[in-house]
Subunit: 143 residues, 2 copies
């Protein structure tokens, strides 16, 4: 785990305008192979969470749906859709920033690892304060 990748995700998320600021960075062999921000509102696509878009782009780049050995850094705990996509894409490690008590699927609301019998390595709370603040500020701004 390298903090610089979560820092990179945080920087990406800050560019978000219409959408909740969430970003993801996919790393393979200590190099970024894809990155994405949440664009559900902007693109009017229900599935356009940052994690899903990062997976699509990594699959395209590697020409392979299997992302064994890849590490995903994401500013917010993945929802059930994303957690299941991450596991099905064979990603090896996930590092997330803020915990999501309402939708988080790596322990907070449900445990997708357990549901899908996965041994993926997951660690939350990376740069947690910064990640939490970014989302909190967004919701205070739009209120």
């Amino acid at each position: 785990m390298k903090l610089e990748y979560m820092q990179k995700a945080l920087e990406l998320a800050e560019f978000s305008r219409q959408d909740v600021p969430i970003a993801a960075v996919m790393v393979q062999n200590d190099k970024i192979i894809s990155q994405a921000v949440n664009t559900r509102e902007k693109e009017q696509q229900a599935i356009n969470h940052a994690e899903i878009l990062a997976i699509i782009r990594a699959n395209k780049r590697l020409q392979n749906w299997r992302l064994n050995g890849c590490e995903l850094y994401v500013t917010l705990e993945p929802c059930p859709m994303c957690a299941s996509a991450i596991i099905q894409a064979r990603i090896s490690k996930v590092y997330f920033g803020a915990y999501d008590l309402i939708n988080g699927a790596f322990g907070s609301k449900c445990d997708m690892k357990k549901i899908m019998n996965s041994n993926i390595e997951v660690k939350g709370g990376i740069l947690e304060d910064e990640c939490t603040k970014l989302i909190k500020n967004y919701f205070e701004r739009i209120r």
Copy 2:
């Protein structure tokens, strides 16, 4: 619920070659607005389950990420990724054919309705024998 839409999904799934034959049909106001087959292997995209592709195409067609009032017909019980995507896309009703005891997320392996506190209407077992047979034949063929 109309059997003709599941029949349509079955016909679509039969065209599948490299991939497990699963298809989905999205219906709004008694008209098909999108349809898709599973293309994970063909396109080398981990998220290319039939349901996800049907949602992407419906969102694009309606220029709206919310699919309230839409009904999804799918030949196999959705996995956690797809079940969560279906709920987040605000689809009103889901009809599936075969039950998936290993990955099914509308009751078989887990209950995404309960996990996500959703009141989406779900009914499984529509043309169950035909849907089950299609997948069974595929796995017997590739063995």
